[in-house]
């Protein structure tokens, strides 16, 4: 088993909230992602057993959404919004800044496996642009000084 008892228990508790068990699929995928940082076919199989739905139902849902990647990423996933409101305030140059700072290209992970840098669609932070999300946290109204500090602090913490 990949999923630990805590995750399994969480999934079972969540499933009780819904009138139909299939509704537990997305919450279960979220819990699995929170534990492992990815959700692949082996995990789909475990989830299918826990929720008691066919494997294909899990796979079908999981592959539609952006928040359940099949492969693990760096310890810190940096997601930069590159949509219009952020782009008007320099989101593209923010991506370049991060590429230079981390010495990787968009879509790549640093050698020490600490940072993965990707661009994403609108994160609902348009009046505080430009912005990025690192794991669960939003960082808004970004400036080069702020970004530099955020990255340095995460490096120091790791």
């Amino acid at each position: 088993m990949i999923l630990n008892q805590t995750s399994i228990q969480k999934i079972k508790e969540r499933a009780k909230e819904f009138p139909q068990k299939k509704s537990a699929i997305l919450p279960a995928l979220t819990i699995a992602y929170q534990q492992e940082g990815y959700v692949d076919e082996a995990i789909y199989r475990e989830l299918a057993k826990i929720i008691d739905v066919p494997y294909v139902e899990i796979a079908e849902a999981a592959t539609f959404y952006t928040m359940f990647p099949k492969k693990p990423r760096g310890k810190y996933l940096i997601q930069v919004c590159h949509n219009i409101s952020c782009a008007l305030l320099g989101a593209d140059s923010l991506v370049e800044y991060l590429e230079n700072k981390l010495k990787i290209k968009k879509g790549e992970t640093t050698e020490d496996n600490l940072f993965t840098l990707i661009t994403v669609e609108c994160l609902g932070s348009c009046s505080t642009a430009p912005m990025m999300q690192i794991n669960q946290d939003y960082y808004e109204n970004l400036t080069p000084e702020k970004v530099n500090k955020i990255i340095e602090e995460l490096k120091a913490k790791a």
Partner: protein
């Protein structure tokens, strides 16, 4: 997890007795149930449970003129009245908190800073349709809002605002918090319901409408966060008061998310019919264009609404005025861009979004948005060809009106309006293989 630092006009709202949604959003304790109650929270819910019938609630909301704040502008009370009275199936209410239309960041503020106001609105709506289990579908990326909402729900349950036999009225109501998986399309109500049932978030063919057959094939109402948060005030102060705010066909107040090239981006609550030019230039709101540059254009209601040119912005922000000039109020996301913005670059940003978010169910949208992005990217990269504009127009015409949900139309409308307003710039880009205005925005 962090709280949104977005600028709001809460101080101004506090001085105007007719504005209400943002009254307490700068109070850090507003998210706690006791503070919310001290500020008059849950009074409307008590009033409803202590003596209003479901039909009376629907009637008040109908008469208030409240229209859906998520984008479509459909009358909220009328939507509720579509739930069949004789249905023996359970009924469900879903609050749509899947805020992801580029430019829109208003619901997040309500969810994070005044979560009980959303719960109270949901509870009243649930009662109006005789629902005993309500859901809130929050986009998965809003981790902080999800946490806040969970705390608020648990507090509301502990204090008896939700749960069994609420205020000894005999009414039971429970609430489920559901987080999405990252998909813009789930803001479309039937896609949201599919997602909530554990499927891919793809829209359903209507009819049947959700009010007849929605979640788990039962009567279901889906309402936006801001629409629901408006309901308690309508119940407390009456339909007449609410309909006296705003304009004749667009009553009440609305939150506008102002973003892009303005000095003071933020979320501003104003009465509908507020002047767009004032919103952009007034020192109390947008404060003018960044760097005092010249305005080039405005997207008035989120990424899917047609552009306005500078000569069009002396206009009332309401459903009918924007429709008259060929645009839409949408979600109230006003995106401003100045003279140094290339229109092809802007459209490429928008089209990339819709291509990425197309769910793939309908061929015209799935294939069409991909072709559009490809052609527009080619033009932006200086490889445009003769006839590209006509090709883009042809693809647009073959998407428009030919898809199950409005995402296809949403992708097309800004493109069409940009060609209408700035055809010479598109032409220039193709002929000269470069932008008419050099576009490079540094973050600083």
């Amino acid at each position: 997890m962090f709280y949104s630092p977005v600028r709001t006009n809460a101080a101004q709202v506090a001085k105007d007795e007719n504005l209400h949604l943002f009254r307490y959003v700068e109070d850090p304790d507003q998210c706690k149930v006791d503070t919310f109650v001290a500020h008059g929270g849950y009074e409307a819910w008590k009033k409803v449970l202590n003596g209003m019938s479901a039909d009376e609630v629907i009637d008040v909301v109908k008469k208030s003129g409240l229209r859906g704040r998520g984008g479509a502008g459909f009358p909220t009370g009328m939507k509720w009245s579509f739930v069949p009275k004789d249905s023996t199936k359970p009924r469900y209410l879903c609050c749509n908190a899947d805020e992801s239309e580029p430019g829109t960041c208003k619901d997040r503020v309500l969810l994070e800073r005044d979560p009980h106001s959303v719960i109270e609105g949901m509870a009243i709506a649930a009662y109006a349709i005789k629902c005993h289990l309500m859901f809130i579908y929050i986009r998965g990326e809003f981790a902080y809002a999800i946490e806040r909402m969970k705390q608020a729900r648990d507090e509301a349950l502990a204090k008896g605002h939700l749960g069994k036999n609420i205020y000894s009225s005999g009414y039971d109501l429970d609430m489920v918090i559901y987080s999405g998986g990252g998909a813009y399309i789930c803001g479309e109500e039937t896609a949201l319901l599919n997602s909530l049932e554990g499927h891919r978030g793809q829209p359903r063919i209507r009819p049947p409408f959700p009010a007849i057959e929605g979640l788990y094939a039962s009567p279901t109402i889906v309402n936006n966060v801001e629409s629901l948060a408006s309901v308690p005030y309508i119940i407390k102060r009456g339909a007449q008061w609410y309909s006296s705010l705003g304009t004749e066909k667009s009553s009440g107040t609305k939150i506008f998310s102002l973003s892009g090239h303005v000095k003071q981006p933020g979320n501003y609550e104003v009465a509908l019919g507020f002047n767009l030019k004032k919103l952009i230039y007034d020192p109390q709101y947008g404060g003018g264009i960044l760097g005092d540059k010249k305005l080039k254009g405005v997207i008035p209601g989120g990424a899917s609404t047609p552009f306005l040119t500078p000569e069009m912005i002396d206009i009332k922000l309401d459903y009918e005025s924007l429709q008259e000039v060929g645009s839409m109020l949408g979600s109230g996301a006003v995106i401003v861009f100045h003279e140094e913005t290339c229109i092809v670059w802007t459209i490429l940003k928008l089209t990339h979004f819709f291509h990425h978010e197309s769910c793939g169910k309908c061929t015209p949208c799935r294939e069409g948005t991909a072709w559009l992005e490809q052609i527009i990217r080619r033009i932006e990269n200086g490889q445009g060809r003769d006839g590209d504009i006509e090709k883009i127009e042809d693809i647009c015409n073959n998407i428009l009106g030919r898809t199950i949900c409005p995402l296809g139309d949403a992708a097309v409308m800004p493109i069409q309006s940009s060609i209408k307003h700035w055809r010479d710039e598109w032409q220039y880009h193709i002929e000269h293989k470069k932008c008419m205005v050099e576009t490079h925005f540094e973050f600083k």
